[in-house]
Subunit: 146 residues, 4 copies
């Protein structure tokens, strides 16, 4: 793959009318959905299709989400989502995000989401080794201590 765990990956989306509210700007919870869009594309660029990972029984549940809103996004704006892995180990991964309006470059929002690797039962479970490299988790030298 061209991308590596430390890289920042950019995704672009266009603001939907449905995402606005009566203030005439994007309703704030939608930024969390945009983070998801960015996260999925980051994973894809690292060689992980989240859909397949989930089919194999590895789920990423959200433990925390945080967003600071700098400037409002408007209907039909193109928004660039920059996503990166902020921190990761065998049990958790934190993604960082920055969202900008494409034309002017205005910073719209920054934030992070913290995820726990889980099994199909939604109970925490170590990320299988096969995925460590993609998520930037250092391989233990010898004895398997992480």
């Amino acid at each position: 793959m061209a991308h590596r765990p430390g890289d920042v990956v950019e995704t672009t989306l266009r603001v939907r009318y449905a995402e606005t509210d009566q203030m005439g700007v994007v309703y704030h919870s939608n930024y969390l959905i945009w983070m998801e869009v960015g996260r999925v594309e980051l994973c894809r660029s690292l060689g992980v299709r989240y859909r397949e990972m989930e089919r194999e029984g590895v789920l990423l549940t959200v433990a925390e989400a945080s967003c600071r809103y700098h400037a409002p996004a408007h209907y039909d704006d193109e928004v660039i989502i920059r996503t990166w892995i902020e921190q990761s180990h065998a049990r958790m991964v934190t993604f960082g995000y920055e969202m900008r309006e494409k034309e002017q470059g205005t910073k719209l929002a920054t934030g992070f989401t913290k995820h726990v690797f889980c099994g199909r039962d939604l109970k925490p479970a170590k990320l299988p080794r096969g995925y460590w490299r993609e998520f930037g988790i250092a391989q233990p030298d010898h004895d398997g201590r992480e």
Copy 2:
């Protein structure tokens, strides 16, 4: 139960800010979600908790949805959803809906959703007999062939 299959059941909800769009009124796809709210309460009033039905492997997939918008709903309005079973047989059920603004009684929307009974695999499957009465499906007179 007090309610029977032919009855109209009323549910009330309050419009959320998140449901508005920049026109200053409720975005139209939300009415389909409100229909779901009405449908679930109708089922409950008939003695069927949809959650349990689904756990037992009986799913209601949507085959068709239709809505006519008469007047816009606004943020913080209380909306009354009237729901009823329009038609039903062992393979399908159609729900009818009418939504009104509570205070003035203004008619907001009318519509219907048509559903196919399915199994866990999302493949069409006859509704088990145990649910026929609740959904207003006539019992066969004698030989049980449906």
Copy 3:
């Protein structure tokens, strides 16, 4: 413009996790939002940026929406939305839609939305002449009867 009012315009989007429900497929109200995405791109291809039109005081309110669901869409699917103008005159326009899963070509849904042209006050108002051509409305021969 390359596109003309009778044309079918294709838009592609990728299914978001947020759009799925616990049945493991896309929740049905989201198709109405996808129709909006298709409609906006159709308008753009005809030379109308809906955002600008709205700023000029021409709003498209939804009078009716209808959708038939043929097969479920899944998370991370790419969906092709085909959109066209089904009917139009100075007071209303109806858009038609067909949605397919890109890889297999499976038909997911078909539907239409009917819209009334309105002014900023959300009251019906004839579409200004300047937009007639884009929406495929025939120019009157002589005396302005539409």
Copy 4:
């Protein structure tokens, strides 16, 4: 009013099918919408109808939102949202939230949202005096300069 700015106000809502995702639990961005529901009810209990406040040109824009997810909420659960004012002054107000599943009392999520008072132009503007008491902002002792 029975309620005062320091009070915790409880609101109950029922999880909608539309709010679940394919993990079988509530999609995480919906908690921000639930916070809005709690916030609006808190305001109402303090004597402020947010709809009226906005009509008078006082808007509450979101500057930051944060949520920790403790346990997943499920379809048809009743959720109790406890909301309170965590901090407030003439330019900002922070609301705190705790969400629990009603029947078992399980803590689902905790979080906060930080808001900036704005005018109709979405530019920051001091909250008019008439609202200070409701938002728990101390009146200045003497000369009233804000």
